[in-house]
Symmetry: C2
Subunit: 446 residues, 2 copies
Amino acid sequence: MSDLLHEEEIGQWRRTHYSSEINSSLEDREVIIMGWVSSKRDHGNIQFIIIRDRYGDIQVMAKKSECSKRLFGQLQQIKEHTSLAIRGTVRPQEKAPSGVEIIPLELKAFSIARKAAPFMMQSKTSIGIDTRLDLRAIDLRRNILQSIFHIRYTVLNASREFLARQGFIEVNTPKMIATATEGGAALFPIFYYDREAFLAQSPQLYKEQLTMAFESVFEIGPIFRAEPSRTNRHLSEAISIDIEKAFVDYNDVMSLLERMILHVLDSVKEKNKNDLAYLEFQLPNIELPFARYSYSDLIEQLQGGGERIRWGDDLSPQAMKNLPDDRMNGFYFITDWPTSIKPFYVKPKFVPESGRVSESFDLMYGPLEISSGSTRVNRKDELLERMKKQGLNTQAFDYHLKVFDYGVPPHAGFGVGLERLIMAITKIDNIRDASLYPRDIDRLSP
Amino acid sequence: MSDLLHEEEIGQWRRTHYSSEINSSLEDREVIIMGWVSSKRDHGNIQFIIIRDRYGDIQVMAKKSECSKRLFGQLQQIKEHTSLAIRGTVRPQEKAPSGVEIIPLELKAFSIARKAAPFMMQSKTSIGIDTRLDLRAIDLRRNILQSIFHIRYTVLNASREFLARQGFIEVNTPKMIATATEGGAALFPIFYYDREAFLAQSPQLYKEQLTMAFESVFEIGPIFRAEPSRTNRHLSEAISIDIEKAFVDYNDVMSLLERMILHVLDSVKEKNKNDLAYLEFQLPNIELPFARYSYSDLIEQLQGGGERIRWGDDLSPQAMKNLPDDRMNGFYFITDWPTSIKPFYVKPKFVPESGRVSESFDLMYGPLEISSGSTRVNRKDELLERMKKQGLNTQAFDYHLKVFDYGVPPHAGFGVGLERLIMAITKIDNIRDASLYPRDIDRLSP
């Protein structure tokens, strides 16, 4: 019996139809389906096997009386997760979800599953995330993750589409760099041949330089941060949607960002109906413009509510939760942050507060920071002054400073954390599920 | 005189028109243009200044008799590369390239150029590439590089568009990994918190795993190779267009690849007419299918021509130049490479040569390798055997091997070197000009 099922090559077999293409119009037609066994029920003389492919499920029904002994035996031996092809005939079946089922004629097992997955494939909630991440490729077969990553693809496409329409050009900047962009400590060092180098925390200085030649640029690519924190909203490697635009200020790019978010949500609503239904989640109807609160106003509100916070402190998610305003559940901006807690390239606002606050913003979703942006410093003397105030070694930035001798335009931009945006859209509470293979302080594999 | 020109904030000024939007229909209208000074001619009582923006050039003409003394003086002081805005009136001018020119009323200099660029902005050929790369942000203002990177954007869009239509989903896989994918030496090591890690040479094993859950996946992202070579066709950091597809073999993905190349070329022809004209280059009319030569046949041909090469050797660009076949100028495939010189995940071909050759291909453009692909091994025992034969430590691949217990489908894929493809399309002879900020053994900045 054990030799009934053996692994075969795909050879000349090819899928004739995806599961979603099989309906009653194909009645009595012979088809070849390919996929993996998502579930099976064996009633002795009758077996039901659900085959899943990229577009859904299709039921295979085998009666002992209608099947060759060999094929029926093969189907009995087959286990969940096995990768296979079935050649069979389409037959109407009212009880099957798609109104049809496949009566099998021949089976080819490509790769036989040898183990049972340590988690339930059909359930939304599951065991601890670490067990799932250890076997991520199988975990990703679960409906909930399929929905999340289909939505993620729409978000990427919609962002690109929106930016292309606005005249942006996509660029790729180096991820191996000589100097820390923001002088921070959260850097991964590399051995670059015989030198030390670092992984880029953001494409910041490169995208700024590129406004000189291309005016409006965007990059969607990995960023690397050696975050020491173990939270549900930080990754060591994430995808950032970065834009930079010449001849505008932070108000212009805030407007651009909220229109981009609107376009992204509209696209998800249109293209991911099934995924949203599976997640049991309706996207909010957002209205533009998003609410804008200045940092100083929020500090006053928090202080008024008894919070122990001083002007100049960062706004922690913990503190934000104590804000009374219930409008702060959706998307909103916090603007005009203290210059002292923003990076050197962020432009101080000269009126009316003489550089104490900056032309900067964060886009928030509830207590979650989705994006950060600002007008940038575009003149060399001002940039040098800002660097020195932040205690940076200006010589290390020579490669950047020297382009400021050739007419850097006024410019502004932002970076959106893709995984954070996915959290806001899908309501998942752990950022790791917005990344195919997440990286954090404890996890470097798979 | 020297204080006439000073740097100003953008404030409430915004561009009303791009250069390309200014034509005779706007006669006598007041406009604000923004950009940088691409060239100027001063005839004493009359000055011509060419302002360039993202979409082209527009001429500003100032007569001493028509201009305020202050404005005329400012225009005299302004240097090439200065970033500025000019408010002015549109006037017909037959001699100007666009049929109109701007009569200036007011000028705002945003950032005054202080140096002359060490290369000619208008010329196609230029000084040594290192001088240009040292000041890359300015170099990228040159027409020839503008054309290359506009074409590059089309190539990216057309590739994504083609793959989306074929049902592929875009993914992002980690660039920081625990194990060398191909066991090779050309890896950049990283300090990952307290551990050693590496930068990914390719998304190979991840994209293969993802066929289990998504069937057809692609990734466009950076790859990292610590190439010791100083050639005109290697980069240490490049962009790879990687695809992987379930339930097909290498013939299917070769067909997919040539159709993708055709779609890319058609898109460039349609969308980059001006860029191609500037490069003085007509894209070839390619025909499908591309020629396919087996590795063994080429070795025989080379040996017949007196080349000292043995079956099992790699095909160097040097050796390839000695092939008589003049069809080898365009795109063609070399198929069925020796298993011994391909990575462990490449599937040996069992008939008729008993695993000596593999189900593999390279896509070539003349002597330049553009892409490499194959059917992959999809069964654990076979993969383990291949790893051992190549002397790999199989334990280091546990995270990968264990997914093979859960039904890995038959699959095939390829990776296209984006910069190599750009070389083929634009006929540039140094790969560094297909990268915004190239990285090689000698260059880590800017």
